[in-house]
Subunit: 229 residues, 2 copies
């Protein structure tokens, strides 16, 4: 049962290669394309942040944003930040995954998942200076909803102090992509009377829904109205 999402990766040529990523280049489905990496990061806003806390692995869902120059990922999160505050050399792994469909084959073993995934590795900086934090938050906010930073009320000092933000340079990363149909069409299994193909999984924005307590006469601004289209 190769339901597809093994860790099989590649490294962008322009990123640093490490022992951790190099040996994975040997295997199938790795992508060496930096553009693919950036595309995966731009297509999402929720990542799974891996940290070691008191010796235990933890995987925390949180939001992230990519800087406009695509060199830095900003990750929001207090638990990892507390851990990092105590140990500034803490390594993290940030994984972003988009699931595109189920691959149904003639044999259970050949079933899989169509997906795009990026794993980022490194030791992040815990942003402390007001200017750094504000810029990081702007990048994060604009990544998620472009135009919202200038439209909504920006954080004040008190709010900034309550916000934890990590900055991870995009230096070590790996990408794995699987697309297309099942691969057992040229095997003896192809003679079986079993349907094979892909069941696509779609993710789409709905139309913005106003808050119950929204004051009348405030329309959805254009930069948010475009989400649902």
């Amino acid at each position: 049962l190769s339901y597809g999402i093994d860790i099989v990766t590649g490294v962008s040529e322009s990123l640093v290669e490490t022992e951790r990523t190099r040996h994975r280049r040997l295997r199938e489905q790795g992508s060496l394309d930096r553009e693919a990496l950036i595309g995966i990061l731009r297509a999402g806003f929720v990542c799974h942040l891996g940290v070691i806390i008191d010796g235990h692995p933890m995987v925390i869902p949180t939001v992230y944003g990519l800087s406009p120059d695509a060199r830095t990922v900003y990750v929001h999160g207090s638990v990892a930040s507390r851990s990092l505050g105590a140990r500034p050399d803490t390594e993290i792994c940030v994984t972003v995954t988009h699931v595109d469909g189920l691959v149904m084959a003639r044999s259970v073993f050949e079933h899989g998942v169509n997906y795009r995934s990026a794993m980022l590795y490194g030791t992040p900086r815990l942003l402390a200076a007001t200017g750094d934090k504000l810029l990081g938050l702007e990048h994060l906010s604009e990544h998620i909803a472009k135009g919202q930073w200038a439209y909504a009320r920006q954080p004040n000092k008190k709010e900034l102090a309550k916000t934890s933000l990590l900055a991870l340079e995009l230096e070590e990363a790996s990408v794995k992509i699987r697309s297309g149909g099942p691969s057992d069409g040229d095997s003896p299994d192809a003679e079986l009377p079993v349907w094979a193909g892909v069941i696509p999984l779609h993710t789409s924005w709905g139309a913005p829904e106003p808050a119950d307590d929204l004051k009348p006469d405030i329309d959805v601004p254009p930069h948010l109205a475009s989400f649902g289209r």
Copy 2:
């Protein structure tokens, strides 16, 4: 900027409480409901598996399935399995997250994400016996696509030997759920001329797409046709 997905959790009353989960009960948005946990697990099939490999945190996207009695989660994955083969006491963290929408508030700080997330902790068993592995695969396969196990060709011995499967008992877990609109409608920010509400994110199955090399006259079986509806 509380883009919502901090780690803030609760524990099902019927699950074992540990130091790791107990202190998190103090905070908001934790859910103590075992049904909520099961619901989150049943609603998905891709998890993010956290393991420590050579001292580094790794977060690996992979497929999982919940057993029909909702006591065991089966996780597919070779990297974690290799690590576990070397060290059978390896702890893992399995996180399942569903993103339901973006919460847009009057202030950037109050922005958030509507989501449902479950984090499972423990030391899994690496399934080795043929019977155990076959049953685990059946549970995993049926979790993802009910009816497919009996319909497609089941794994033979060679395929089973190539398959790595972890079984994690549902003993320590935490759940976090956020839903609803922004919370700054009763703050001074409510006077601002800023739209507030939710932009929902929908995930839906498309109609099954036959493989290019599918033999003619093989219809989509009913258990797969229902995916797109």
